[in-house]
């Protein structure tokens, strides 16, 4: 197990290096941040001064060297827009996203697992069809549209929930539901299909022959095995949403890292964009590692492979 983890860590370091190179190059293809910072009648001298003040006048290879050596030391540079450490800006916003994600994910799981089990157990019945329809609706509904509908109904019409921003517990409801519906649909479908596969296995037949009740067979024996791909998907969703909840965070004015990523792109804030993507890569790799370890725990064949 230790050799497995060590190998994955080395692979991760190599991947991070490649990500760093790619993001450094791609960030600069999108344009020059100076264009957005200077006023319309700025002279060449004004531009040159700003370029120097921001360290953008250095040759490209020098900027890359500074970025890579800094990254190794944990210094991801200064945000051009905020004039502060890019990593500091990222970690300042990360808790806001992390406060929202568990709510959305826990809510989604709490509904997706029972619903997926019901759909699998009552395969082909009205229950299955209803659950399937719900899943299609959840996947097909654009998040921004759902967010707007929720604001309209619960904030404008009923006046029971705030329409946006971080705040007390009531502020979490609409953004968490918006994110959760998207997660719920995918997870429910996966639980159902995975459970159906497991329910046809030999060990399940044996369990039934032994006279175990349907509840024990499904919830104890089948579900544990069926959850392996769900855990994988859960990890992938979590990593994706850490910086990928852009639409939800924008609609609900939630100051998380999803919106920060969007701002870094729009303002061509190279150091911030580099930092956000690199740190996101670290999060994705870490989550994947944890998922793989969990996977190995849930499925002993992985452990011994």
């Amino acid at each position: 197990m230790q050799r497995y983890i060590l190998r994955r860590l080395l692979q991760g370091a190599l991947l991070l290096f490649i990500v760093a190179l790619v993001v450094f190059a791609l960030a600069r293809v999108s344009g020059n941040p100076i264009d957005l910072l200077v006023r319309e009648d700025a002279t060449a001298e004004d531009r040159a001064h700003l370029q120097k003040a921001l360290g953008l006048d250095r040759p490209m290879h020098e900027q890359l060297y500074i970025f890579l050596t800094g990254a190794v030391r944990g210094d991801l540079g200064q945000s051009i827009r905020y004039r502060r450490s890019a990593a500091e800006v990222f970690f300042e916003r990360l808790p806001n996203t992390l406060k929202l994600l568990p709510l959305a994910m826990a809510g989604a799981l709490a509904i997706a697992i029972p619903l997926g089990v019901l759909a699998a157990v009552y395969r082909g019945t009205l229950v299955d069809r209803l659950a399937g329809g719900l899943a299609v609706l959840g996947i097909a509904t654009p998040q921004f549209w759902l967010g707007i509908v929720l604001i309209y109904v619960f904030s404008i019409q009923l006046g029971v929930l705030p329409s946006a921003r971080m705040g007390g517990p009531s502020h979490y409801v609409l953004p968490a539901v918006t994110l959760g519906v998207f997660l719920l649909a995918g997870m429910m479908r996966l639980v159902r299909s995975s459970l159906l596969e497991v329910m046809g296995s030999e060990f399940v037949k044996l369990a039934r022959l032994k006279g175990l009740s349907q509840t024990i067979v499904i919830w104890k024996h089948c579900l544990r095995n069926a959850l392996i791909p769900v855990v994988t998907l859960f990890g992938v969703y979590f990593a994706l949403l850490v910086t990928g909840a852009i639409v939800t965070e924008t609609v609900f004015a939630w100051p998380g890292v999803g919106r920060l990523t969007y701002e870094a792109v729009i303002f061509r804030d190279y150091p911030l964009l580099q930092a956000v993507i690199l740190l996101k890569a670290v999060i994705v790799l870490s989550v994947n590692l944890v998922v793989d370890i969990l996977y190995a725990y849930l499925d002993p064949r992985v452990r011994y492979a």
Partner: protein
């Protein structure tokens, strides 16, 4: 369809239907303004470069030169008055008595000197830092309330450049406090002499202020607290104003109808920008055979545009008939009535005359025209205006090849030799500012950034005339003579039809009339950073 536009339409439609009042409205003592941007959200006047800082810096810091609140343009600020020396090379500013910073320290000439020097310092990235460095020779403290700035030449618009009517160079910072706590400490706990004291800044979310507890020369706030919220999505801003979670929200012209239907009031700020189109590199040898090189063709293209249609339908009647290039009804150094009359006539819609001029120029059958349709940051509706302009040109037989281009891709092409733009037209914008001359040097002077009339290597007669006209304006110390010179400069450009105004744009705000009373904005200044202190409570001055 762009996600943002779709989103706006969706909620816009919903808002029109009606609804119940929300239980999450802001408390009555807090003025809450929802903004589309908080810029860099750095509480230090030397660390932000563009207009958003006029939203969030202005409550805390006073400016050396202020506003003419009724007409727009410049007026008294921390300096009650100022005068320029006989040789035009030094400006003396006389400060208000009894002004204090939020920690109780008096505002003195030493603070003004310190502030201007800090703005010019190497670490400053303020928008006008380079211009100040070029302009200022030295700063002299005459006495506690008098400061004299010696300039490197005659700069008639020097005072204006220290007003937020233009940019932010005139913010007065506390010398003693900054020297004590350092730059970092100042950014964390900033103080100024403005009517609002800084309380807290939550990055990416909000900035909170509280009102000073003494009468303030800019106006004593009627609310106890001020909160600026960053709400990037317009639909959400509208919803927040509707429910009372925000009192005021910035909106674009496309949201005005929906806001009105939802019971909100609209505050339009006149003269914040002018949408223009302009022709590039027509003086260059490779553009010699272009139909656009003929002034009759350029005038015909202007006559083909029905500006009233654009004002009514693209801008939802929330725009004005423009004045000549980069001039507004609050501009100084020019004859407003004369140019207002000129604009009504010369910028009229006359397609018959346009066709006649094209025929006279030998292009009655039309010609091909490349038109870069782009929008500068903050004014996305420029693209819709550009589409309308291209449509009007098509109607008189011009075959317009519209190249809709993101600003970030277009802007680099406007610098240097502008090879990709030679012989083409593009959309552009001029920001609202009181004096036209600084904008004219950038666009028309042979050494200017855009040099639309010629560059130092190819400077035809009109280019040389423009250079001389500009020099005549900026070297003239007599006000009347300078106004006459400015009129000549404006006329030269107007008759060239090289850069042509389309509409005068406005800044738009949705207001919840239950949260704030009737107030007037400052003409030309979209941001409310200098308005909040004069906003009444709803019961003090109800909306008409």
């Amino acid at each position: 369809m762009n996600i943002r536009i779709f989103l706006n339409l969706m909620l816009g439609g919903f808002l029109a239907v009606g609804g119940a009042p929300a239980a999450h409205a802001a408390d009555k003592d807090t003025l809450v303004i929802a903004l589309d941007t908080l810029g860099a959200q750095v509480m230090d006047p030397i660390m932000d470069t563009r207009a958003p800082h006029a939203h969030y810096h202005a409550p805390v810091w006073d400016s050396l030169v202020g506003f003419d609140l009724e007409k727009g343009g410049i007026g008294p600020g921390v300096a009650e008055r100022w005068e320029v020396a006989a040789d035009g090379k030094s400006w003396t500013f006389y400060l208000r008595k009894s002004l204090r910073f939020h920690n109780g320290d008096p505002v003195t000439a030493r603070d003004v000197k310190f502030s201007l020097e800090r703005k010019m310092s190497p670490e400053s990235i303020a928008s006008g830092a380079a211009a100040l460095r070029r302009a200022v020779d030295r700063i002299e403290v005459v006495d506690d309330l008098t400061v004299r700035v010696h300039t490197k030449g005659v700069i008639p618009y020097f005072a204006a450049s220290l007003s937020r009517a233009v940019f932010m160079e005139g913010s007065v910072m506390p010398k003693k406090y900054i020297e004590t706590v350092g730059a970092k400490g100042f950014r964390e706990k900033p103080i100024g002499s403005g009517p609002w004291k800084f309380v807290r800044s939550v990055p990416g979310d909000r900035i909170e202020y509280e009102a000073v507890d003494y009468p303030h020369w800019r106006g004593t706030p009627q609310f106890k607290r001020l909160t600026l919220l960053l709400v990037p999505e317009q639909s959400t801003r509208l919803a927040m104003v509707r429910t009372g979670e925000a009192t005021i929200g910035s909106i674009g012209p496309e949201a005005i109808k929906e806001a009105r239907v939802g019971g909100m009031k609209i505050v339009s700020v006149p003269g914040t920008m002018q949408a223009v189109y302009q022709f590039w590199g027509l003086y260059r040898p490779e553009a010699k055979g272009s139909p656009l090189a003929d002034v009759r063709v350029r005038e015909a293209l202007s006559l083909a545009i029905d500006r009233q249609q654009i004002v009514d339908h693209v801008m939802g009647k929330q725009a004005q008939w423009p004045m000549p290039f980069a001039t507004f009804r609050y501009s100084s150094d020019m004859s407003i009535p004369r140019w207002d009359d000129w604009a009504r006539t010369a910028l009229r819609y006359d397609p018959a005359r346009a066709r006649q001029l094209l025929a006279e120029a030998g292009h009655g059958g039309g010609f091909k025209l490349t038109f870069w349709n782009t929008a500068l940051p903050g004014t996305p509706f420029m693209v819709q205006i550009g589409e309308a302009v291209a449509g009007f040109w098509e109607k008189i037989g011009v075959k317009v090849e519209v190249k809709t281009t993101e600003w970030g891709a277009f802007d680099p092409m406007t610098r240097g030799e502008q090879k990709a733009l030679v012989g083409t037209a593009s959309m552009y914008r001029t920001a609202g500012r009181p004096e036209p001359a600084p904008r004219y040097i950038g666009s028309f002077n042979s050494k200017g950034v855009q040099h639309l009339l010629g560059d130092p290597q190819n400077c035809p007669a009109i280019c040389q005339d423009a250079d001389r006209a500009y020099e005549a304006v900026v070297s003239e110390r007599d006000d009347a003579k300078r106004a006459a010179a400015a009129n000549r400069m404006i006329e030269l450009v107007a008759k060239s039809w090289i850069a042509v105004p389309i509409i005068e744009g406005m800044g738009y705000w949705a207001v919840n009339p239950k949260g704030v009373g009737f107030f007037k904005p400052i003409p030309g200044r979209h941001e409310f950073g200098d308005v909040t202190e004069r906003m009444p409570r709803p019961e003090q001055r109800p909306w008409p």
